[in-house]
Symmetry: C2
Subunit: 535 residues, 2 copies
């Protein structure tokens, strides 16, 4: 038994010594270029941790921001942009509204495309304003940062990093249109790595693989609207032709908020660090207000309901349907909802303007989680082992929901088509069918069983890049190859040409030899016949 | 300043809590199927750590073993084999001798091929004896192990794991002939991932890429001699057709003794864990005997010289050349050498039968390391920041040396061609040219800057597989695809067929329309001419 204890002590000392040695490095200066909305919120844990470790963090944000506000862990520097905060808020609100509009598929696609293009142009104008703000950029240059931490979902951060000639760390869930795979030179075989929005699993049928290929062909076209303008902006700023890949690929480390407990396994690269569930362990006890609701819920416990930071209102008719369904379960429902109170709201449903989602999910009396299946919610659900009813609204949420459903840890509903009955049944299923709880607990135990906490891992790699001024040794040589060199097409062509040349020469030699041989025989025959004639 | 301290304390607590939670798991039973020689020696750290953590480890080994002996951390179970220990020893010795024989290239290749085939057949016969030993295998089955830890360099361990229906963890440097890439479904692009023995860097010229492609074509042929017989053996044991890939691919976790500080970055898979340099931190103070040598070396310090566990003797002529060169440097040389003492051995050179390589390299007075550039030595050199003179002898050692040389951390010599002058110059260069020390120190600082020690990481993942009975969620779907499905050839064919069908139909329609149109015109003209004629 003493051996066991001793061994554990030794294993404990290993990481301790290791982290200790890493913490010897001097406190540094970090520039943070965030992206609005949940992207910004998901960075809070890392920011706090880096601040606590003594680093100076400067966050730059447009004067018109919705979520990015002053904070105690960082200095916020605002730069002027040619739009108002209201324009951004209206864009967020319209995202929520358009989700609930019933429209034919094609109309929906065209409307979404136009909206995305409009919103992207708005944010791009802000980035352009920043990069052309010589005074502001000069002040950043003078600050002598060690590195840039940024979310590459919009490409302003990577361009700023290049402008300041600083190494960068990306913090992201994923990039659309396989941009991440392209920028990391990470192979993404079409045959088992499902493309975004395809709803494909990893084990695909032939037709699913065909669908995957078609989605891969289409994604470039769809993403051009958002990302190509950044390539033009970068080309203008750096006075040379730049592609989206050129902007993204210099990153030293990619901190990817994913985990293969939930994600399908696929090839990765050495500079990709997986930190899925990074914010989960930062749980606090719930406040008195929420504790009171939970205590009052009795043996049935509670259900947590939130559609994320972007959607807090829904159309009245849909809200009434939902309210009706919620009234049919014995649990107390805590619903984050800022819209008009549905007239049929049952007694068991409590509307709140905001809720501490992760803290509530971590409470032992939480029975289910109604979510739009954004990546944060999904990881909080997995981490806390709470079965889910998922109502995906946009973006990667459909894929997220599908993935959880195939793991038997939740039920997916189509928020436009579902009836009150569907919703109530889904809720009763995930709460009463024990398999859902078992499955999510299994995922949870795997997800939490890691050699090092994802938050510590993220902090380590940010500091690593600051300490070593990048990580060039992790950059694959693939970045310096053209597409045909990467796929060895020139080598294959060359070797084929040699083989064909050899075959051709052998054939010609053979033909020549045959001709010679036949010619001799012919000559022989001619001579013979000549001789015989002469005789 | 208090903030910094507080933050560090928090970051320290993270991994501590994490490892603590993992150490809660119950002690388990592990079966270890090792491979002889340095492969076995490199596993000692993990074995000791697992033993200290309370796990019961059973090692199985042939009765005729050279390095695998009883130990305090494990129970050794021997099984009878149809050869003697002497045969194995003779095989090792002949490896050393043949390395120093000067022969034409082709003769050398054929001899090596024959030797490898002979040695492989010897070891295979041992494996076959084990698997057909019903009593021994039944006793293993009855032991109810949690997992198998094995070195897959020879395929006996993976076959035993399948026989016992146990999850397995592989512990390896790499597998020849890209078998590891095949068995993990890990892409290995020909264009920048250099093939074994090719001596290619990652940034290749066109001709180097052609060479790489040719080596890739040849490696299958060369490896068939060693690995195919295991496929036949497995097919016989499991009564179904099995390939080498089928034997290797079920591994849950691949513990790979490599590090991208030294290795070229390339795609990896989520179940590959990199633990290069795993044995480096287990340094002890050197014994009194060696301390005395070091102290006597004065300001010049010492040079450590070893050609690895397999080669401790070299031909007399070569030994004299080496001895002469060693006499020309002011450092004291500690040379592991069991052969006849060269008559010209200088006073500064001390022959020893064995030396604590890692402990000596860690001594601040060590100035250089003369090595055969086996992977263990290379990592010990990097870890301790000692510049190297490399004399690669066989296997991957040429590639290892090339990689260190391109990083400016050592000089490579051809052991057959080199003169005493070459050797002495190489030694003086790495000792006196400061760039070598600077480069190796830079590599060393990157190599040691890790979020968790590789030994702890290895122990964590072994226990992870024992705890969760494998890691099926990390197995990519690629394993269930045929080669043409994996490369989407069927999908591409299908889509091309559709495109061609559409083009064909459009063409046919167009041709039909044209004909119709022309026909009408023709008809019109005919009618016209008919009419005009009629008039």
């Amino acid at each position: 038994m003493r051996g066991v204890f001793c061994g554990r002590l030794l294993l404990l000392l290993g990481p301790l010594l290791c982290v200790l040695s890493s913490s010897v490095s001097h406190a540094g200066k970090l520039l943070l270029v965030p992206v609005e909305g949940s992207h910004w919120l998901s960075m809070q844990g890392v920011i706090q941790q880096l601040h606590q470790r003594g680093h100076e963090i400067v966050v730059i944000a447009p004067e018109a921001s919705v979520h990015i506000q002053e904070g105690s862990s960082y200095t916020l520097k605002r730069y002027p942009v040619p739009f108002q905060r209201e324009a951004l808020e209206a864009s967020f609100a319209s995202l929520g509204h358009s989700t609930f509009e019933k429209q034919p598929f094609l109309v929906r696609v065209i409307k979404t495309y136009k909206k995305v293009k409009r919103d992207a142009a708005l944010v791009l104008s802000g980035c352009s304003h920043l990069l052309h703000n010589a005074e502001f950029m000069a002040s950043l240059k003078k600050s002598h940062f060690d590195a840039v931490l940024t979310d590459p979902f919009l490409l302003c951060g990577p361009i700023v990093a290049r402008y300041l000639a600083l190494p960068s760390i990306y913090f992201l869930n994923s990039l659309p249109c396989s941009l991440d795979s392209e920028a990391t030179a990470c192979p993404k075989p079409l045959s088992y790595v499902s493309r975004a929005l395809s709803l494909n699993p990893d084990h695909m049928t032939f037709l699913q693989r065909v669908k995957n290929a078609l989605f891969a062909l289409m994604e470039n076209f769809l993403c051009n609207a958002v990302y190509s303008p950044y390539a033009s902006l970068a080309s203008e700023i750096f006075h040379k032709d730049m592609s989206v890949k050129d902007i993204l690929s210099p990153a030293s480390i990619w901190l990817v908020r994913r985990d293969f407990v939930w994600d399908f396994p696929r090839p990765i690269m050495p500079n990709m660090v997986f930190i899925g569930g990074i914010n989960c362990l930062q749980r606090k006890p719930v406040s008195q207000e929420f504790e009171a609701y939970i205590n009052a819920s009795g043996e049935h416990g509670i259900v947590v309901f939130s559609l994320g930071s972007m959607v807090s209102e829904i159309p009245e008719k849909k809200a009434m349907e939902i309210a009706e369904a919620l009234g049919r379960i014995p649990q107390t429902v805590l619903w984050r909802y800022t819209g008009t109170r549905p007239s049929n709201l049952a007694k068991n449903t409590i509307l709140v303007k905001w809720l501490p989602q992760n803290d509530l999910l971590g409470h032992p009396k939480t029975r289910a989680f109604i979510t739009h299946s954004g990546s944060h919610g999904i990881y909080e659900g997995i981490c806390n082992g709470v079965p889910m009813v998922m109502m995906p609204l946009f973006g990667d949420q459909m894929d997220n929901a599908k993935r959880m459903e195939t793991r038997g840890a939740g039920v997916t509903l189509n928020v436009l088509e579902m009836t009150a009955d569907d919703f109530a049944n889904a809720l009763k299923t995930v709460i009463n069918d024990k398999s859902y709880k078992e499955n999510i607990m299994r995922l949870s135990s795997l997800h939490k069983d890691r050699p090092i906490e994802p938050l510590d891992l993220a902090v380590f790699w940010v500091e690593y890049v600051m300490r070593h001024k990048g990580a060039p040794h992790l950059r694959p040589a693939a970045h310096d190859l053209t597409w045909y060199q990467y796929h060895s097409l020139d080598v294959i062509g060359f070797l084929l040409a040699i083989v064909m040349a050899v075959v051709f020469i052998v054939f010609k030699c053979f033909a020549y030899a045959c001709r010679k041989c036949l010619g001799k025989k012919e000559q022989g025959r001619v001579k013979k016949s000549h001789k015989s004639k002469a005789h």
